[in-house]
């Protein structure tokens, strides 16, 4: 399976947010726990709206949550 060309720090940010669960994050963002897991594992690229919602949940700008991964291109 081809890797997506970007990475994310959602796992770390969840940890720093008091071990927020994938289900809690999914509920705040408006997606299922499975979708958060897929995004975290780099298997699913979220829409811009969901990406912004995730970043806003952690109070971070988008580029601190998602990053372009040159090796993954």
């Amino acid at each position: 399976m081809a890797r997506l060309p970007f990475s994310n720090d959602i796992r770390t940010l969840r940890f720093l947010a008091g071990e927020m669960t994938q289900a809690e994050l999914g509920e705040r963002v408006g997606v299922t726990r499975q979708t958060i897991a897929a995004i975290e594992q780099g298997k699913y690229s979220p829409s811009l709206e969901v990406a912004f919602r995730i970043a806003r949940t952690f109070g971070k700008p988008l580029e601190q949550v998602f990053g372009w991964d040159e090796e993954g291109r």
């Binding site: 399976m1 408006g30 997606v31 299922t32 726990r33 499975q34 979708t35 897991a37 897929a38 594992q41 298997k43 699913y44 979220p46 829409s47 969901v50």
Partner: protein, 142 residues
């Protein structure tokens, strides 16, 4: 496994069992006669009822066990998976319709045509559900 994925598995197993029985038990010897059409009608009735009952019971049972998941709305990944499955289901459906059109010119009886179209619909549904389950398992919408 999400609620939607479980529902897809139930649908897949139910359809294979119900239509597997239909196509295996159908009296192909009388397919060319008018009686073949009535045989189809008579067999499709229990198939449809069995699918509706099995899906209703399975959905209700799973919804009772995991009410929170059952009430979740379809999200963007679910929708992407749904669209991709429907896209791939289009191909067996088109092939089935073309085969049915050619069968018309070979003087295939109405029961044969009905079964060809039915097979196309069943294959398309199996393709749709199969692709969706594959994508749910893989985690990525493709």
């Amino acid at each position: 496994m999400s609620f939607r994925e479980k529902i897809h598995w139930v649908t897949l197993v139910t359809m294979i069992a119900a239509f597997g029985w239909y196509f295996l038990a159908y009296p192909w010897g009388i397919a060319a006669s008018p009686a073949g059409l009535w045989a189809s009608a008579g067999m499709l009735l229990p198939v449809t009822v069995a699918i509706i009952i099995a899906m209703t019971i399975a959905s209700a049972w799973m919804a009772i066990r995991t009410p929170a998941e059952a009430n979740l709305k379809e999200d963007e990944r679910d929708r992407s998976i749904h669209y991709r499955g429907t896209h791939y289901a289009y191909y067996p459906l088109v092939v089935g319709v073309w085969v049915s059109i050619f069968a018309l010119f070979w003087n295939a009886g109405p029961a044969v045509q009905l079964n060809l179209l039915l097979a196309a619909v069943v294959l398309a549904e199996l393709m749709r559900i199969g692709v969706q389950l594959y994508l749910y398992r893989r985690g990525w919408h493709g």
